[in-house]
């Protein structure tokens, strides 16, 4: 008896199929690349120095329009040139001794006890090396001269984590409640539906603000909880409908007839047959939550100010766009679009791969 004739286990089979599917392979590698970058950045292997102001403010992206840079560059310089002029014009304040003389207070001697030591320290330490700021970066720079590419990589940490974790929380809650409601029906279904109606009846933003106020803590966990706790409702309805459809199917009745427990029927028998719904919802919600994080950050409930996310980048881009600095927007959106497309293609392929009926 050859092992070749056996049908392999579900996951082995799914894996083998994924490797055989070109679309799946490409999308899987893209997602893996993003997650790899995200992990690397959280371990400070890459993009640890994203906060360094290495370029001039709004340095142009060399990757997109290298030639146009030199011609349009003067504009930001002109702005910074104004500042020292203002300070130089006010000579009275610039010389404190003259002021004291004017006021008749020049006979009072002020001794600075630390002046000597300060001079010593200044003398021993080398003068801080002021690096010349770069005129261009591959993806340009932001207002303070942070490299946009590094910002995108650092931002992925927040965005991907928030998107995936919140979607996972929402999918697990939605699937569990939907399974229970759809499978048991009756008063349990009524109760959960009532609960669902309350959640959907309250305006979304209000609910988010309320939960944010209750949790009273800024940070990624808070955002994940907020999005997860509010986002399960759609998944609940879909999974519930699937369970209602499947619970009367003959294979479930047959499982009942052989004495399989309710739990086994719900999760061992029915769940693999409806898991595609949860999987697709997981992918859709990941995308949605990456976007929701933008809104939350915009409203001030998002990530703390010292962190960067694609959402906060898009928030900054709002003001920059008017001035014509489009690269931060393009960089963040591009990263988001590529990840989102790859991710939904991957979940599609995964769903197909998990279905033993599709060859």
């Amino acid at each position: 008896m050859s092992t070749q004739a056996h049908s392999a286990g579900l996951w082995t089979l799914a894996w083998r199929r994924l490797l055989g599917d070109r679309v799946a392979l490409v999308s899987m590698s893209v997602v893996a690349l993003f997650i790899g970058l995200m992990l690397a950045s959280s371990l400070d292997i890459v993009a640890a120095d994203w906060n360094d102001e290495i370029a001039v403010g709004y340095a142009r992206p060399s990757l997109f329009s290298a030639t146009a840079v030199t011609e349009q560059a003067p504009e930001p310089e002109a702005v910074s040139a104004v500042i020292p002029q203002v300070g130089a014009g006010d000579t009275a304040i610039a010389d404190p001794a003259a002021v004291l003389k004017q006021l008749g207070l020049d006979d009072i001697k002020i001794t600075d006890p630390l002046a000597k030591e300060l001079d010593q320290i200044l003398a021993t330490t080398p003068a801080p090396e002021i690096k010349p700021r770069e005129e261009t970066r591959p993806f340009g720079a932001d207002k303070w001269g942070h490299d946009v590419l590094l910002k995108v990589i650092k931002g992925s940490e927040t965005s991907i984590f928030v998107g995936l974790a919140a979607a996972l929380v929402a999918t697990v809650i939605g699937t569990l409640l939907g399974a229970v409601a759809g499978y048991y029906g009756g008063w349990l279904d009524d109760l959960l539906n009532w609960f669902y109606s309350i959640f959907t009846a309250i305006p979304y933003l209000l609910l988010i603000l309320a939960i944010a106020a209750v949790l009273d803590q800024k940070g990624m966990t808070t955002i994940v909880l907020i999005l997860g706790l509010t986002g399960w409702t759609g998944i609940f309805r879909l999974v519930r409908a699937e369970y209602m459809k499947h619970r009367t199917r003959e294979y479930v009745q047959a499982a009942d007839a052989i004495g399989a427990s309710n739990f086994s029927r719900m999760f061992r028998h029915i769940f693999p047959n409806v898991s595609h719904v949860s999987l697709v919802q997981l992918s859709v919600h990941t995308v949605g939550f990456i976007k929701s994080e933008v809104i939350l950050s915009f409203l001030g409930f998002g990530v703390p100010v010292d962190k960067v996310s694609w959402g906060s980048m898009l928030g900054e881009a709002q003001n920059e766009l008017i001035l014509g600095y489009w690269w931060q927007l393009v960089a963040a959106t591009l990263a988001m679009a590529v990840l989102v497309t790859a991710f939904s293609m991957f979940t599609d392929a995964l769903r197909d791969a998990l279905d033993p009926k599709i060859k």
Partner: protein, 570 residues
């Protein structure tokens, strides 16, 4: 007789995916003359429906291919490759088609009258007013009572038989010269089937049109056809007049088809299966000529293993805002199942026969009554008390495509019940047991690692039987267990069920709409109608001497093929 349709060297193939293409029709040639009824008979996968769709130009464009050299000529004009617009004109007027399931063929959002009128408006340039009037006349012609009122009803408000009549009326609207009927009575009860057959026969005589009747059921074909084509695996096995096919079948496959279905007038020990004929196995053929002795007639000495007393199951439907409607699916049903015997439960759709089985298994909650298993009432037990009894009563469902979890490999399907009930000391022992079970139902041990979809319908039903057997039950409820299977496969499964009963001494409650099947396998037959048991008799008596009017109706409606027709004629 003038030739209407001539099909020659028709080859149709379907592309399943990039690598696999299957040839559904492999070079089929035949002709249909004006006014005749040609029947195409074959089991599933024989290519009979694909042939009809190819004639109508209704094959799915994306993945089907009609090979070069094929030809379909309508009154001398080649139809293959004709532009869609011209085909549409032809379909609306000269050739009409009716399908198996009238409910899904009719648009649920339009009234029946409007759907018929639409054909007339599109193809015959009638005004809507005139078309509606004509629609009522057509409904009257196909025998729908109060046609003017019925024309204003939506399809779901009509019964299955009336829906099919509506479909026929729609087909008649274009005054077709050829009616193609693809399994038009398969989804209907036998009594309704008889009416539809009579209707098509009357219409054909009245209008002088030709009929191409496609069916899996030779008995039906024998009642209606002038000529018969027998198809298998996309090829024509035999062509002949109905008399030749029924009295002098030349092909082994035709002979097998004629013998596979359980006969009504005698009870053979075993049913013939196709392989017997194709390989010419003499002992099996001999066995099926030998009559099975009647057992259980009048015997009361055997202790009943299962006793059903005054079982009722009522469903409540909400109607309107506050109204409620009570449906008595099962009403006051009582019977006993003696140990080692088979009780058959026969009835048409909606008679409540399946509900009886499900209620005994407690898959439905009974409204009233008792189910005594060796004297203990199953219906009042707690879930824990019921567990050992769940092992002892098992059920096999109608549809083997739906009753096996598509995500489980066969091994899991067979091992799970044993794990739950602690049969076998360890996994290895259980797997060994599963292998013997598969051997018993005639499947290779390799089956264990495969998924259900890798098997044919008959093989899947064997897997379902093996699952039920894995618990070594005392009582087996077969709920339409052979109804979804092809005749030849049905015979194999019936033989298997018989062998297993004899080997393990099980008792069967055999539920089916097919009186011939029930009569063949059961010792005692119960006839159900509208939730009640109207007659109960030993299976031979029920055929020879039916007491209740409904039973007589049921028996009369069963198609008996060609022999019956000649008998009536003479």
């Amino acid at each position: 007789m003038s030739e209407l349709l001539s099909v020659s060297h028709l080859r149709v193939s379907f592309r399943l995916d990039k690598a696999t293409t299957i040839e559904a029709v492999k070079g089929v040639s035949f002709t249909v003359s004006a006014g005749e009824t040609l029947a195409i008979v074959g089991e599933s996968g024989s290519g009979k429906s694909v042939t009809a769709l190819a004639i109508m130009g209704l094959l799915p464009k994306e993945n089907s291919n009609v090979a070069a050299g094929s030809s379909v000529r309508w009154q001398g004009r080649e139809l293959l490759g004709l532009p869609n617009r011209e085909l549409r004109t032809l379909r609306g007027s000269d050739i009409a088609m009716i399908f198996q399931d009238p409910m899904s063929s009719l648009n649920p959002l339009f009234t029946v009258g409007d759907q018929i009128a639409e054909v007339l408006v599109t193809h015959h340039e009638m005004t809507w007013k005139a078309a509606r009037k004509r629609a009522v006349a057509l409904l009257d012609e196909v025998g729908i009572p109060e046609p003017a009122q019925r024309a204003k009803l939506y399809p779901f408000q009509l019964s299955g038989g009336q829906q099919q009549r509506g479909m026929i009326a729609m087909a008649m609207a274009g005054e077709p010269k050829l009616l193609i009927a693809d399994e038009p009575t398969t989804a209907l009860d036998v009594t309704i089937q008889k009416q539809i057959i009579e209707l098509v026969n009357t219409l054909r005589e009245k209008r002088g049109m030709a009929v191409m009747w496609i069916s899996h059921d030779l008995a039906v074909v024998g009642e209606i056809a002038d000529r018969v084509i027998v198809m298998r695996h996309g090829e024509i096995r035999e062509t002949g007049t109905v008399a030749d096919i029924f009295t002098r079948p030349q092909d082994a496959y035709t002979q097998a088809l004629l013998q596979c279905h359980p006969p009504l007038d005698h009870r053979p020990r075993r049913l013939a299966v196709i392989d017997d004929f194709l390989e010419g196995k003499p002992p099996a053929i001999a066995l099926q000529r030998e009559a099975r002795p009647q057992v259980g007639a009048g015997e009361t000495a055997i202790a009943p293993i299962l006793e059903v007393r005054n079982l009722s199951k009522h469903f409540e439907f909400r109607e309107g805002l506050f109204g409620k409607r009570l449906l008595k699916a099962v009403d006051n049903v009582s019977f006993t199942l003696p140990k080692g015997r088979t009780v058959g439960l026969v009835g048409e759709s909606g008679s409540g026969k399946s509900t009886v089985g499900l209620t005994i298994m407690r898959l439905h909650q009974a409204t009233a009554g008792e189910v005594l298993f060796e004297g203990k009432n199953l219906l009042t037990m707690s879930a824990r008390e019921q567990m050992p009894y769940k092992r002892r009563i098992q059920i096999i469902f109608q549809n083997p495509y739906a009753s096996l979890n598509p995500r489980f490999v066969v091994g899991d399907i067979l091992l799970e019940p044993m794990r739950i009930h602690g049969i076998g000391a360890n996994e290895r022992e259980r797997e060994a047991l599963a292998r013997t079970l598969l051997d018993k139902v005639g499947l290779p041990a390799l089956t264990l690692r495969k998924y259900p979809h890798e098997f044919s319908g008959g093989q899947r039903q064997r897997i379902a039987i093996a699952r039920a057997l894995s618990l070594q039950p005392d009582v087996l409820i077969c709920d339409e267990s052979v109804s979804a299977l092809d005749v030849s496969v049905q015979a194999q499964v019936l033989n298997l069920l018989q062998d297993l009963r004899d080997e393990f001494g099980m008792s069967y409650l055999f539920i089916s709409h097919d009186l011939a099947v029930v009569k063949y396998i059961a010792d005692q037959v119960l006839v159900m109608h509208a939730g009640e048991i109207v007659e109960s008799a030993p299976s031979d008596d029920i055929y020879r001497n039916p007491q209740h009017a409904y039973t007589r109706n049921l028996l009369r409606a069963i198609p008996r093929g060609y022999a019956h027709k000649t008998l009536v004629a003479s």
